[in-house]
Symmetry: C3
Subunit: 582 residues, 3 copies
Amino acid sequence: MASIVTIVDNLFQNTTGNSTISVPKLYDFGENDGSFIMICAFLLVTLQTGFALLESGCVSEKNEVDMMLRNVVDIVLGGVSFWLFGFAFMLGRSLYRNPFIGLGDFLTDASVNDPLMGQLMAVYLFQMTFSASATTIVGGAIAERCNFKAYCLFSFLNTIVYCIPAGWVWGEHGFLSNLGVVDIAGSGPVHLIGGSSAFASAMMLGPRLGRYAKGTDPLPLGNPVNACMGLFVLWWGWLAFNSGSTYGVSGAKWIYAARAAVMTMMGSFGGGTFSIIYSMVRNEGRLDIVDLINGILASLVSVTAGCFLYHAWEAIIIGVIGSALCCFSMPLFDRMGVDDPVGASAVHGVAGIWGVLAVGLFADNPIPLDTTSGRSGLFKGGGWYLLGVQSLSALCLICWGICVTLALLWIINKIVPIRMDPNEELLGADLMEHRIRHSQIGISRALSALAPLKIDLDDAINAPPIGRNPGHEQCIDEVRAASQKLYEWRSFMDKMSPQKKANDQPKVTDNPGLSKGSFKLRNINRKNKNGTDNHGYEGKYSHGTSGAENGLRAGGNHLFTVTKSGENSHGERHDQNFAWID
Amino acid sequence: MASIVTIVDNLFQNTTGNSTISVPKLYDFGENDGSFIMICAFLLVTLQTGFALLESGCVSEKNEVDMMLRNVVDIVLGGVSFWLFGFAFMLGRSLYRNPFIGLGDFLTDASVNDPLMGQLMAVYLFQMTFSASATTIVGGAIAERCNFKAYCLFSFLNTIVYCIPAGWVWGEHGFLSNLGVVDIAGSGPVHLIGGSSAFASAMMLGPRLGRYAKGTDPLPLGNPVNACMGLFVLWWGWLAFNSGSTYGVSGAKWIYAARAAVMTMMGSFGGGTFSIIYSMVRNEGRLDIVDLINGILASLVSVTAGCFLYHAWEAIIIGVIGSALCCFSMPLFDRMGVDDPVGASAVHGVAGIWGVLAVGLFADNPIPLDTTSGRSGLFKGGGWYLLGVQSLSALCLICWGICVTLALLWIINKIVPIRMDPNEELLGADLMEHRIRHSQIGISRALSALAPLKIDLDDAINAPPIGRNPGHEQCIDEVRAASQKLYEWRSFMDKMSPQKKANDQPKVTDNPGLSKGSFKLRNINRKNKNGTDNHGYEGKYSHGTSGAENGLRAGGNHLFTVTKSGENSHGERHDQNFAWID
Amino acid sequence: MASIVTIVDNLFQNTTGNSTISVPKLYDFGENDGSFIMICAFLLVTLQTGFALLESGCVSEKNEVDMMLRNVVDIVLGGVSFWLFGFAFMLGRSLYRNPFIGLGDFLTDASVNDPLMGQLMAVYLFQMTFSASATTIVGGAIAERCNFKAYCLFSFLNTIVYCIPAGWVWGEHGFLSNLGVVDIAGSGPVHLIGGSSAFASAMMLGPRLGRYAKGTDPLPLGNPVNACMGLFVLWWGWLAFNSGSTYGVSGAKWIYAARAAVMTMMGSFGGGTFSIIYSMVRNEGRLDIVDLINGILASLVSVTAGCFLYHAWEAIIIGVIGSALCCFSMPLFDRMGVDDPVGASAVHGVAGIWGVLAVGLFADNPIPLDTTSGRSGLFKGGGWYLLGVQSLSALCLICWGICVTLALLWIINKIVPIRMDPNEELLGADLMEHRIRHSQIGISRALSALAPLKIDLDDAINAPPIGRNPGHEQCIDEVRAASQKLYEWRSFMDKMSPQKKANDQPKVTDNPGLSKGSFKLRNINRKNKNGTDNHGYEGKYSHGTSGAENGLRAGGNHLFTVTKSGENSHGERHDQNFAWID
């Protein structure tokens, strides 16, 4: 019984006072390092913004808000599970951890007396952003057809898919780590895992309705400007991603952090140049936006694993190859019938494999840092060992990513169907899941086509379109109605008085004495009980034939009040008021 | 007289050489701290970007640019007043300061010889961003109906509303500070003050026209994607906000900065999870975007006051409660008839109260920092004192926020009416204040409805719609006219020559010899006087019946020139030119 | 021969071991400085994001994606050329450098043993972002009419325009640097060079088609919200720009970095206030968005050169003057027929001149830093020398910027015409260069107008509009067709059976026994060979008259299959499936 208490104690407590566990190497840093890691983590939160914008810009407009919200959910629910068990499985420091899984630090926290509180908090914050990235990569691949509730569950549970293999590579306990695998900022654990999951889940969900009805050409983007902006945000987030993965700036770390940043940029220059040329050649001189964005992202993925181990020209070459692999595999996946709306499988999966392997080929030994445990890549005379370990790592991560994702989605599918209803898919998740109705993209046509199918769409049909103000539209209607009545009255009076000719248009006279009817909109400034001014607006349309009031008031809110009375009422006017017509 | 000189001297000079004033605790930091504060301040400027995007995305489309511009004005005019007197009232270091108000450092500056220049500049920069935030919070609450000019005045003067109570809490002179109030990053001074002001001003301005005509349901958002993006930007800005409020990283500060960042995220995870569940339960499975965004922001507000004084699970609970308070109070305020388009009163006001009180309940004593003057919260065995002080602080800030805002708006209303004209409100501030005309959102319909009301709308009616190029449209018209003439000529010739059949479509022949008429668009490369190439384009449409020139030239700019002449002119062609039709 | 090897060696190698070259002053910094420079560089990458958003928001909608992509290209191709020769020309450290041009460090890199690797990498990264900025400034001025391929070439080569004069000002070898020019963050090398290039290239390209057809008023913006957002992003990028230009925080550097940040903000407050007042006075109370954005940017440009050499009130004055110069010169350039869609010539060119000169007037001598070599500005009693050098610098930079840009564009024009075809210009680069088709902005009208002109527009006409999903639209069509058939069958049956009345609307009965025809949409869950679920959807519409199958299948993708058969097929249904109609 006592031992169970001890086990629980070890799993949930931090290890302060537990003299059997020394300071892990990961936590061996100080003030300057900590502040650098923190600032990089702040910038890393932007990475999620970049993914959100990119994914939301790539899907059709009827799903763009939904994609943003899924990225919010990724952070929130993924953050909760990372706290509950993700960090524990990844870097848990209890005695029960083993080469396959970390254990300890569940419900991650630190007491005020913990000498490692700062280190723990900084590393936890930094890793949390990595975990969210791995989930959002999958979110892109299953966009536009994955049920929102199922996605919420997935978002919560996907932490398992990421955290366990991340522990293999980065934890002191991990078997890949102990074999000497080198992956500085996560081409493997973040991108390859994310990309494999993306591929598996895109395959399992099946293509979007009608996706390949007109061939395998990519569908048009919903918001290409936002997609580009996503690329920009990811670009600078990536600098923090790769530089921050030195876990500090003390000693020689800052030198390699700077090298990481430069080589990240160089890789993207290589990949970007390839994408531009490839796209122009393939498309008769036109630059395709998806090729460019995904080519650049793929090159960033490729240099991530060994970002500060490369020379500039090597980073460029690695970027070019990563970009090429991505550009070639995107259409290939489409021909395989795997519908990945944002190309996540190609960008993160295929380029992720290359990124992991490239370390085995090109890595320098960064002497002061021992990142590579003294080894070098094949082309640097380091022999085949590193390449072998990297290959093994890629293999393990792919298998894990695909198998666990399939199992996870299979289980989730038992609870909530992972695929949207076809009608929901056709109408878009914005409308069906969030009651956000876009205009000008064929929603009304789809609603009318689906109406005979007995689906309850009342809620969707009644959703007001975004961008407009229904309250204002009601006001406009009232103004129009009042104008119309005024016009009719004029016409009637004109017929009665033969000396006046009928006017073609409603005319409002300036002279109150002459006006047979008048339309009035008054700004009335009333004192509320609490002493504040409540500016109500009251419109009065008056003529002599009827006293019926045709007004509208809702709650404490003053709308146009259209009244009819025999005389023209020149009521009180506030000094800052105005009358539209008098 | 000399004493007046001394007073002025003390108020405007920095206190260098004035041996009666020692280095304030706030300024007791060095190089590493300074650079951390600065970088956090850079990120904090993003906070304004986040507010701008969120507010602009929440209002209807006809006000979205106006909301962005108001946020620009907040920074600019709020920045000027913060420089003139804001910082002086908040943290002024002269002898004349008192527990109610700081005095000194007006027109904040530092001489090159001031030993505290770096500290002053860093703190000033950091606080400036806080001040802008407090104003923009109010800007959201009075969106879509507050007159732009009045808002500019308000933006300038609102600094008073923020800076004086911020001094109470954060200044060495402040009475709340001396009572031992704890507010790390401003749940009170920034958010509660902002939220109270927002509530008071939304109440005073009254609801938007027709707001409650169809019940109290929220109006549709204008641009939900931008609103989500605003949330993301605020999220990462908030990390800098809360972490940076340790004012440095030296000693144990970086540890608590890291804890602040983690607990900020944990709070938002709690709040976000609550919002997701609450929204789905309330809306039959649909996630409402406003509930989600505001729930997360409210949880961030809630953990702000004690961000590095909490454990993870406490931060989550505080976030959940903050989010719940916000989600419940938003519809309540609507039922009260207080129309707050972005929910600022609930997010910053209600959650701000809870944030201030939560410190009194949950706060740890962060031993090395003495943030809490050695006290702890009620649940940590610290007794009722801290909770009492926090309650007093909340009370003082609410009263100040509401009363001073009402007074300020009352005064501004005497100068410029704070409420828009109804016609301006119906047509939107983008069009009426900035001559930006959106398409597809009913502006034309509103213009025609309001046209009979004798308002001078010519300017609005003539505004070209955004997104289109009126110059190009004129070119297109000319091309169409020319094509039409060509077609007519062909038809005429076809009738005349009976051996040729009438064509259904205008056909342009390739053989110049056969062409009866020809349309030509030539790229003519002329040398300007200054030696640079000016590429003009000239289109010639020629046939045999008329020599009249129907051209258009504007200034030095070459438009399509449509000429008619009897012969087909094969003029000079630049080698890199082209002819559309020959 | 050996000497050639040595030359090549010197040019491409870093100078490690070359004892004749000492540590350059620029590289004389350490860990804390390096990490500050890096973080500022990360933020600086956002500057490109800001430019992209601003430029994309300012052009008409049919070019907005193209502008984003041009900014991507700026980074990529500009980055490649900066690596190849840009950094070499700017700060190359070989023996062959001379007062006019740096040489050395071509293909910039550093070996692992280079003691200056960190410094080189940090400075290289920081300067790379400056170089990209100088190009994108020009990109704005030639927007909407510069051929995309020519722009790619320009983007690659423009590095020369920037890097050589940047070396004059910032390199140890530069003749202006040795004369004592002071330009902290590049009012001259970045902005004045960029602005001069912008002016020259806008003049050379000529105005957009029809630009001045309706006078010189600015054209409406395509996306004003994005333009505002660009301003915000530039604002915070600018803080990093100016602060980071202290190249560190050690010693007194952080104090001046903080001062730089504050004075940057103060300058923008001054410029912003001027813009607001100027715009409101000029436009009868309306705030013009372009005046505001460009006024603020111009004030930022103005304070950039001497950002940490000014007092607060001086920064405000400098900002006001910069903003005024920009606001006055924008309409002037339009009257001169120089069409600069984003106002880059005024913002960066005119304000850049003022920024360079302002140092000669207002600069303090920042004693611990020797930025000014001990000199002060004219108004600080430093005499005329500094002002003279600054004027010379401005003159040299303008001449260089204009002449080299003209030469460069002239050469590029020989390879690829720099001006778009008129039809491409009228249809927009989004459609013609990237096959992105916007809706609702008159593209269809333009296409039909240009159709008779024998241009091959098939590709453009067939481009699917963004925001919509063509696959879904096909599904909707099928559902509609099926519904229609069902309705017809019902009508027919109703006529046949006289006891039943014709229904006005298609009605679907619930009783399978009674249903004469049925429309069915089934979710069929099939196992793929690889064991994963592939959710296909199959719709069956059945009635008794015909057995012809009217289905559609594309590849492995299951679309609606509409069949006709005599009996109602109640097939297998998956437990999580549904039938829309039974």
